[in-house]
């Protein structure tokens, strides 16, 4: 029997020990396979990563000199350079990856950067007059949260936090964006999970195609 513990409710006396040892086995294998070696992130480097991305993205989204396709390609390139797609893919797909064919997995992997670039545009490109402001950092376990404030056209700012992790030779990469305590990664995972439940892998691929940035 498996009894879930409540986050904030009383812990049943013995329920904690009624554990799903069997079910956990498969998940553990997957996690070990995907685990990436990582050092504790350096705040300054993390700040640089965030600053580089937001500056490039801002220029790409607000600049008018270059053609749109070129600007979006610049944004896509910046996203490609600074996002840890393996982490995003792992959390977004979760156990569902086991139900997908290799072709489906490959297509999702190919669509993911464009999907995230489109997400960036969707969330942060509206009404930008002033460049995002990269602020302080704080440690989050082995990662660093970099504060990035997006000025809004109607006044006020949208405070966000960019979670940056040190991937060694791959450098410092963004693994999540948090707005008001809400994790984009979690939010999108819930969304993906629902789509996979409703339409299976093909449904998800269709959704990603429809929402991927195509420079």
């Amino acid at each position: 029997m498996s009894r879930r513990l409540s986050i904030i409710a009383p812990v049943p006396i013995m329920a904690p020990v009624l554990i799903t040892a069997r079910a956990a086995g498969a998940v553990l294998v997957l996690c070990l396979a995907l685990a990436s070696p990582a050092e504790a992130a350096d705040p300054a480097t993390a700040q640089t990563t965030a600053r580089s991305l937001t500056a490039t993205a801002h220029t790409a989204l607000t600049g008018s000199e270059a053609p749109e396709a070129e600007r979006l390609a610049t944004l896509q390139a910046a996203i490609d350079e600074t996002f840890a797609f393996d982490i995003w893919r792992r959390f977004l797909l979760g156990d569902a990856v086991q139900t997908m064919s290799e072709a489906q997995q490959a297509e999702i992997e190919a669509l993911l950067p464009g999907f995230l670039a489109n997400l960036y545009v969707d969330q942060f490109a509206r009404g930008l007059d002033v460049a995002p402001e990269v602020g302080d950092t704080r440690d989050v376990r082995r990662d660093v949260l970099v504060s990035v404030r997006f000025p809004r056209a109607g006044g006020g700012t949208l405070p966000t936090e960019w979670r940056v992790r040190d991937f060694g030779e791959r450098g410092h990469l963004v693994i999540d964006i948090i707005v008001g305590g809400i994790s984009f990664l979690q939010l999108k995972r819930d969304e993906f999970s629902q789509i996979l439940t409703d339409g299976g892998p093909e449904g998800l691929i269709a959704h990603m195609r429809a929402n991927a940035l195509t420079p």
């Binding site: 409710a9 013995m14 998940v27 553990l28 939010l187």
Partner: protein, 862 residues
């Protein structure tokens, strides 16, 4: 009319002579006899001070029995399990349950003189911090996702912990839900808030239950928290855990009334159960005792006539009790729950001899004989019966010393000694007292019992055969309930609390245990146990460490910023500006979430009262109701920020020590799927586990093993006692017919008593099992008296003599003395009283009906 004195001598006359020698000697030297008895009594009183009472029913069986030795092994390796007091806090208000638990833990931890350790998993820092790791992965993801979505709301509430802040946060949450979330997610929040505002208008606002609002959707039913309190044992007290129990009472009483009103608190566990058991046994004792004295005195007065004779009979009982207690102190040292009932036995049997003696002296007096000739005459008439009945009864009791039922074996030893003591006391005290005061020999005069109501032999035998047939069909369904819980007052607080736990497999106290030499063996045992049909789970130390921690910690790591934001972050404006209180009720009324309309009405009513200046609707009152438990929620969330990998070494010692002994042995705990307080479930579970893991032990195995061992031991002892009694009677009386006349009614009475037990659903237990040997003892006595008297009586039949009256008085005295125990709150004591009335009434009726009928000459006999 000829009397016994004139009757031809029967075989076994030497017993008459033996009795006569003792009685006439005592009559000749009354002062010496009384002084000797007094000296013996004083010595017994001195010895009795060393006598102890052991209330542990598990020690009433042969410790070498396999299930006993396994239980002993478990108890010695893990002593904390047996002596723990369990405090159960439960209620529908989850925050209140947590708050009360925290208060109790804090209060009890300060009681260092009485409490060695207190452990409450639900509020233990280790489990609060690492509780997330004990969720399964899917559940953890769902929970963390929900937490992430609530983070900004929590941050906003934290920034403005008052009614306005609450309504503002609610309003913004509604906006976000309307813009793409699921409005139903807000249902628990709205339901909880509706309750607060509704109750605020009644003047007794119910505090908001944050845990219910932010935990699983649709959380219903009772939340339960358990505290294990390890007492500092004070062995100078009857209940060594009493100081700890008193500390628990103090801690419960110290809870703020407003908090205590929201929860139910019960105390159970072995020490609490035993303490209350003792209290329930003694609670109705004064009434029961008073009623008994009154009834016994009435019966004796009716039977013997004259208060002096009543006092003499009672004096014989008291003397018997004192001397037997001395013998008990010498022979067994510590009484148990069964052998402590020797008091019942000795009153029942002790008065028997005195009554018969006094009744016959009355008969002698009516025939004009007094003094030494009366004593001698009585002994000639009934002395042999008195001695033989004492010998056979003692032999019957000694038969109970042969089995594995140590409790009953002790009683057998004490009972056998006690019967002989009772005989000697009756044969010495009565003549000595009569020598000093001759009027004690005279009572009401001849008062024969009417025998005309009895039908002839044929109908009696036919009725007996039918009765035997019916009882024979029912008797096999009778059982022995070895569960100590069956003895206790079902209404007592500790038993009710035990029932709370028993109803939930996750907390059910009845579990089996297997001792394994090391962790590896424990893991294998647990795996095997988990595969047994009827086993819910098998726990060992390895199961206490969360599995799949890497994957779970990855998930937690992902959600950690959300948790941190909820605890430390500054809320951001994800929705429109501040709430419009005027518009909120109508907005709520249209909001598509369960509870929204109810909340709309409640807020409208509250606002109306508030605007009218009603004190109950003032902001501070509502603020307090809404946010009373909010800090507790935030504190628990903050502790979860420190979640990290855990190993066995991190587990709280109070928990780990329940599974790993000091010498490194491991315990595997096997939990049943079914409620083991049900005897059938228990038997199936114990048998299923024993088939695969024969070394499994613990309370359920002990109860089942005890039931079987005691059932077998009692059957063996009963048959042996009847055989021994019969053999002795044959040896002495040399009359098979007379032996049949003694034993057949008794055997039938035993069968009928067992059948009644099955018919009434009143199983035998540690308390009422005394009834069987008592019935055999009194039944043998009565049978011998009636049979021997009938054998000696030449005219008028046995019912023309004083013997049936004496037998009736003796049985009625016992019924009067202990039948009132049926009124006790203590289930075991009450069952003893009830069964005793059934058994003695049945045996008396059957002896009166069958014994004379068997001895009566056949109709065709010339």
């Amino acid at each position: 009319m000829r009397t016994a004195a004139d009757a031809p001598a029967l075989k076994g006359q030497w017993l008459d002579r033996l009795a006569a020698i003792i009685a006439t000697t005592a009559y000749a030297r009354p002062v010496f006899t009384l002084v000797l008895l007094a000296i013996l009594a004083l010595a017994s009183v001195a010895l009795a001070t060393t006598l102890r009472v052991d209330t542990d029913s598990s020690r009433m069986l042969n410790p070498d029995l396999p299930f006993q030795s396994r239980a002993q092994e478990i108890n010695s390796a893990f002593p904390g399990i047996k002596n723990t007091i369990l405090v159960v806090v439960r209620g529908t208000h989850r925050d209140a349950v947590t708050a009360a638990t925290v208060s109790l833990v804090t209060a009890l931890a300060a009681e260092e003189a009485a409490v060695a350790r207190v452990f409450a998993p639900s509020v233990d820092p280790f489990f609060v911090t690492n509780g997330l790791l004990y969720d399964d992965l899917a559940g953890l993801r769902e929970r963390l996702s929900r937490l992430g979505q609530s983070a900004n709301l929590l941050a906003r509430l934290r920034a403005a912990p008052d009614t306005a802040g609450f309504l503002d946060a609610l309003d913004r949450a509604m906006t976000l839900a309307e813009e793409g979330g699921d409005p139903a997610d807000l249902a628990p929040l709205m339901m909880g808030a509706a309750e607060v505002f509704e109750t605020a208008t009644t003047g007794a606002p119910l505090p908001f239950d944050w845990s219910a609002a932010f935990d699983d959707k649709g959380v219903e039913g009772l939340a339960t928290a358990t505290l294990s309190v390890e007492p500092v044992l004070d062995f100078t007290r009857v209940n060594a855990a009493k100081p700890a129990l008193q500390a628990v009472t103090r801690a419960v009483e110290a809870l703020p009334p407003s908090l205590a009103a929201l929860v139910e608190i019960g105390v159970t566990g072995d020490p609490a159960l035993r303490g209350e058991e003792l209290a329930s046994v003694t609670a109705s004792l004064p009434i029961s005792f008073g009623l008994s004295i009154l009834l016994v005195a009435l019966v004796l007065w009716l039977a013997l006539g004259g208060w002096g004779r009543v006092g003499l009979a009672l004096g014989a009982v008291v003397m018997t009790l004192i001397l037997t207690t001395g013998v008990a102190a010498l022979t067994v040292g510590a009484l148990n729950l069964v052998s402590v009932a020797f008091v019942v036995l000795m009153v029942g049997l002790g008065i028997d001899f005195a009554i018969h003696f006094l009744a016959h002296l009355d008969e002698e007096a009516a025939a004009g004989r007094t003094g030494a000739p009366a004593i001698a005459g009585s002994m000639r008439a009934i002395g042999g019966a008195l001695v033989l009945s004492a010998m056979t009864t003692a032999l019957a009791f000694l038969a109970f010393t042969t089995g594995d039922f140590v409790g009953m074996a002790q009683l057998g030893i004490i009972g056998a000694a006690g019967v002989i003591i009772a005989l000697v006391v009756a044969l010495t005290l009565v003549p000595a007292a009569v020598a000093l005061r001759s009027s004690l020999a005279r009572g009401r005069g001849p008062l024969s019992l009417p025998s005309g109501v009895l039908p002839g032999r044929g109908p009696i035998f036919a009725a007996a055969a039918l009765l035997a047939l019916g009882a024979g069909v029912l008797a096999p369904s009778a059982r022995f309930d070895a569960d100590p819980m069956g003895l206790r007052d079902p209404q007592s607080a500790s038993v009710v609390t035990y029932g709370w736990l028993a109803a939930d497999p996750a907390r059910a106290p009845l579990r089996l245990s297997v001792i394994a030499p090391d962790a590896e063996a424990a893991a294998m045992t647990a795996e095997e146990a988990a595969g047994i049909d009827g086993v819910e789970n098998a726990l060992w130390i390895g199961y206490l460490v969360p599995d799949g921690q890497d994957a779970k910690l990855d998930e937690i790591d992902l959600a950690w910023p959300s948790l941190d934001f909820a605890v430390n972050g500054d809320a951001i404006d994800l929705a429109r500006g501040a709430v419009d209180l005027d518009a909120l009720p109508s907005r709520l009324a249209a909001f598509p979430a369960p509870g929204a309309a109810r909340l709309a009405e409640a807020i409208a009513a509250w606002r109306s009262l508030r605007e009218n200046g009603e004190p109950t609707a003032r902001d501070p009152v509502t603020d307090e109701a809404l946010f009373r438990f909010f800090p507790q929620l935030m504190e628990r969330l903050a502790m979860q920020l420190d979640v990290g990998p855990v190993s066995r070494a991190d587990l709280p010692a109070a928990l780990a020590e329940r599974f790993v002994a000091g010498d490194g042995r491991h315990r595997v705990e096997i939990i049943a799927k079914t409620d083991l307080t049900d005897p059938e479930n228990r038997q199936i579970f114990v048998d299923a586990v024993a088939a695969r893991l024969p070394s499994a032990g613990g309370a359920p195995a002990q109860i089942e093993g005890a039931a079987r061992a005691i059932g077998g031991a009692m059957l063996q002892a009963t048959l042996l006692s009847l055989l021994a009694t019969g053999a002795l009677a044959v040896l002495v009386l040399r009359s098979s017919r007379m032996v049949l006349a003694i034993l057949v009614p008794l055997a039938l009475a035993g069968l009928v008593t067992i059948a009644f037990s099955a018919l009434l659903g009143l199983p035998f237990n540690y308390a009422n099992v005394i009834v069987l040997p008592l019935m055999i003892g009194i039944g043998v006595d009565t049978g011998i008296h009636i049979a021997m008297r009938a054998g000696k009586q030449q005219s008028g039949g046995v019912f023309a003599t004083s013997t049936p009256r004496a037998a009736l008085a003796s049985a009625l005295t016992t019924i009067a003395a202990f039948g009132t125990l049926a009124l006790s709150d203590h289930a075991g004591t009450a069952s003893m009283g009830f069964m005793l009335v059934i058994a003695l009434t049945t045996s008396l009726v059957l002896i009166f009906a069958l014994t004379p009928a068997i001895l009566a000459p056949r109709p065709d006999t010339p």
